[in-house]
Amino acid sequence: MTTTDSTEPEVISRDRVVIRFAGDSGDGMQLTGDRFTSETASFGNDLSTLPNYPAEIRAPAGTLPGVSSFQLHFANFDILTPGDRPDVLVAMNPAALKANVADLPPGGVLIVNTDEFTKRNLTKVGYSVSPLDDGSLERYTVHEVAMATLTRGALEQTGLSKKDAERAKNMFALGLLSWMYHRPTEGTERYLREKFAKRPDLADANVLAFRAGHAYGETTESFAVTYDVAPAPLAPGTYRQITGNTALAYGIVAAGQAGGLPVFLGSYPITPASDILHELSKHKALGVTTFQAEDEIAGVGAALGAAFGGALGVTTTSGPGISLKSETIGLAVALELPLLVIDVQRGGPSTGLPTKTEQADLLQAMFGRNGEAPLPILAPRSPGDCFDIVLEAVRIAVTYRTPVLVLSDGSVANGSEPWRIPDASALPTFDPGFATVPNSPDGAEFWPYLRDDDTLARPWAVPGTPGLEHRIGGLEKADGRGSISYDPDNHDRMTRLRAAKIDGIAVPDVEVDDPNGDAELLVLGWGSTYGPIGAGARRVRTLGHSIAQAHLRHLNPLPANLGEVLRRYRRVLVPEMNLGQLALLLRADYLVDVQSYTKVAGLPFRAEELQDVFLDHLAQNSAPGVHA
């Protein structure tokens, strides 16, 4: 803004802001949030996002079940979560207002699209009087904006129908918010031109609406202030914004290249994992083959078949999909072939909450197969970490010839954050070490189950290799030679060997963040709760308390130092988005009386909520008589 007009709004500096865009699922709120995120990322703020949308594609318009929202937290320092409560709520209709306004703290900014506040729409969600008129919103700073009317007016000259013109109102809202927070706008205009390359009329309309929203903020006097959130001091490097699902897909491509293996993804569409299939299907030029199978079972089956042939076999799923794949994963355990299985956890049981997050597949991942069928389990702690976790999972799968399960979840999958782009040429490479010659003690035969002394891994001999023809299958094999064996002692030995192989996988020690070194309470988490736990711990420390935080990325095997870490603290608290699954494992493995804090509401923990939980446990810790 170069004008020095006296009506120029005051600019207030903020260190952090949380904005929530909420509207009907047809209003394009996810796209609006995505664009604001991109603008914010390119500006250099640290950020974290939380999309929240219904499972139905288009629930009846204007109803509460149809409300879709996107929350973005951005700051001039490193942040850990998408934020608890919005500072600004954009409500595109009465349903969006009703579903979200309770989260807006007093004094918060509310921007309302008044065009949708008709009697009919108000009645649909149970408002007998418009909340804009009855004084119920007076604790907020309310901006009433007739977004549809203003958008229509801005697009009058385009010749678009009234209906088509109004559809661009989300870009009007984006333009207005971009003005309020001084976001760079070139990226969004470029994006819209590319997205609607085949419909230049729609590209023009969206850009016009976006500019109209921006101009509306500039020219009306109803907005007295704008806000400035300075860039965050991130570590040097080149950054981009990334979601967990995209990072998983990139990790898979990178892992294939690191091992010189063609990538084969066998997958069946399921929310919220489908985006990994979509992303990978675009990267054929990088040696990726994607197979949309007839069902979940065929997806993992084809991936296993490809692995038998020497490819990096990958399957992706969520919810009930992981149940359907169980039998084939069990076969992969028996075959001892590398296989990457990605489970983007969602609310269960059964179909459960397809678009909401949960961490309740841990015990299924550990034990959900017939027989003793151990496999390694890893969990990413943030969207960007998904890339690293896949590289690590593939390294383990190939080194130890085993299926590996990666437990992502809905909040990591769809959430996004700035990601320091790695140097592709510096990524560690690995040799798949295919068998090429007979290995029997006399050198005359190939024994498919003769193990490596260090890793206990068996050789990976792919079809086409002369002299190594062999048969494998789900029946128990004789140790070494690999032929079918029903011998009782052999089965006992093979069962223990399979377990020892997984237990012996080298995983890094868990690191403990205990800045003062005198904490008595350790908070231990896994997976996507890293952000909220860290944010909660930060708040508690700011209040002057000592608290230690540790986070697990390896769930099986657990880090070798974990038992010692658990015993080092007077009290151990494990927050999980399930009913205490990791706590159960820790109690069983280490005989430590860990405390659980659990919630399965389909949404990530809030920092404020965890702060209170931590304070509560700190208070109990200092109470006399505890752990005497």
Binding site: A41, S42, F43, G44, P231, P236, T238, Y239, R240, Q241, I242, V253, A254, P262, F264, G266, H283, K284, A285, L286, G287, V288, T289, F291, A293, E294, D295, I297, A298, G301, A302, L304, G305, A306, F308, G309, G310, A311, E327, T328, L331, L335, I421, P422, D423, A424, S425, P463, G464, T465, P466, G467, E469, H470, R471, I472, G473, G474, S483, I484
Partner: protein, 366 residues
């Protein structure tokens, strides 16, 4: 919107056969080379022995390298098949062999991939994978051993058992209506469908040869006797005049005649068209032009022929029902990957780093 990149309408058909891309060997191979050291453990008298012997002596005739041959099976008696062949093999899980073989075939064009399955494995628990493999036309050869009974679980009726079958699980007779595997395959858009009898090595080998030469999914139904739980189930098709009057062998381009040899040197029975379907008639009671001439390219004829076969085996059509060229899923998938690579190469931009960078980046200077 429909669009297909690149143009996948041809991909070398029909000149490239089922074994195109599989390395060949000049070395002389015998059945013994394809025999593993594992003791065969089927019941005495099982029809699987005859099929195994036929396959062991047939494989060397293909001239491909043994190490480039893979047999994938599901679960059931017949699914032990891979253990007895000295090729690469996988004995997988119940019903899923076509899915597993699909992943292998798509990623490895240098392999000849065979699926061994049974009536329960392919048509009951694995029905979904079978129909989708056929629809996609993956370059797989599927040998469906049909003994119309569950053997490995000790004698329950199967999805091909005739109605009223009395078994351990159906003491009052089964009330299920069975599948006709040939009709199922044709309904699932199969490009190659054949049938043979376990004990008829010559006809079985002929069908296997055509199947191997076919580029795409070939389904070969093999009637196979289970001497323990469904003994003699196909005996009426094996010997003598009765068998001759039941079995209707097909030869492409020839009038469909069968039964004891008549005065003109051909079978005394003929297949003629009636309404939308076919019926069996005495050859000397119909005009020559009424007799159907077999054409493996006709989907309609193949389906009508499949309907001639009855549950009680009164008429049983054998040989190759259907054989047409259609682009295979695996060839098309690989062509898309290659096309994407070529396009990127000509653009001069590619690589992992470009992917990781994406479009919008910003740099933080230390």
């Amino acid at each position: 919107m429909t669009a297909l990149e690149p143009d996948l309408t041809d991909l070398g058909l029909p000149s490239i056969g089922g074994l195109h891309g599989v390395p060949t060997t000049g070395a002389k191979q015998t059945a013994k080379d394809f025999t593993s050291d594992q003791e065969v453990r089927w019941c005495p008298g099982c029809g699987d022995y005859a099929v195994l012997a036929a396959v062991r002596s047939f494989l060397p005739t293909l001239g491909i390298r043994r190490e480039n041959t893979v047999f994938v099976s599901g679960i059931g008696c017949s699914s032990r098949f891979p253990y007895y062949l000295n090729t690469y093999g996988m004995h997988s899980i119940h019903g899923r062999a076509p899915a597993i073989a699909t992943g292998l075939a798509v990623t490895r064009p240098d392999l000849s991939v065979w699926v061994v399955t049974g009536d329960g494995d392919a048509l009951s628990i694995g029905g979904n994978h079978l129909i989708h493999a056929l629809r996609r036309n993956v370059n797989l050869k599927i040998l469906l051993f049909n003994n119309r009974i569950y053997g490995l679980t000790k004698g329950q009726y199967s999805p091909t058992s005739e109605e009223g079958k009395v078994t351990k699980s159906t003491p009052m007779g089964s009330v299920d209506h069975p599948f006709n595997p040939i009709s199922v395959a044709l309904g699932a858009e199969a490009t190659f469908v054949g049938r043979a009898l376990d004990s008829d090595r010559k006809s079985l080998t002929a069908v296997l040869q055509e199947a191997a030469a076919h580029r795409g999914t070939a389904l070969v139904e093999i009637f196979q006797d289970c001497p323990i739980f469904n003994d003699g189930s196909f005996d009426v098709l094996r010997k003598g005049d009765e068998a001759a009057s039941r079995v209707i062998p097909l030869t492409h381009g020839e009038p469909i005649r069968f039964g004891p040899t008549g005065d003109d040197g051909l079978g005394t029975y003929a297949v003629v068209q009636e309404g939308f379907g076919l019926r069996v008639a005495k050859a000397d009671e119909v005009e020559a032009e009424q007799i159907v001439v077999h054409d493996v390219r006709s989907h309609e004829l193949a389906f009508a022929l499949s309907r001639l076969s009855d549950q009680d085996l009164t008429h049983t059509v054998t040989g190759i029902f259907h054989n047409v060229d259609r682009v295979t899923y695996d060839d098309a998938t690989r062509a898309q990957v290659q096309h994407a690579r070529d396009r990127v190469r000509s653009n001069g931009s590619s690589g992992l780093q470009t992917l990781l960078n994406g479009r919008d980046t910003w740099t933080v200077v230390g």
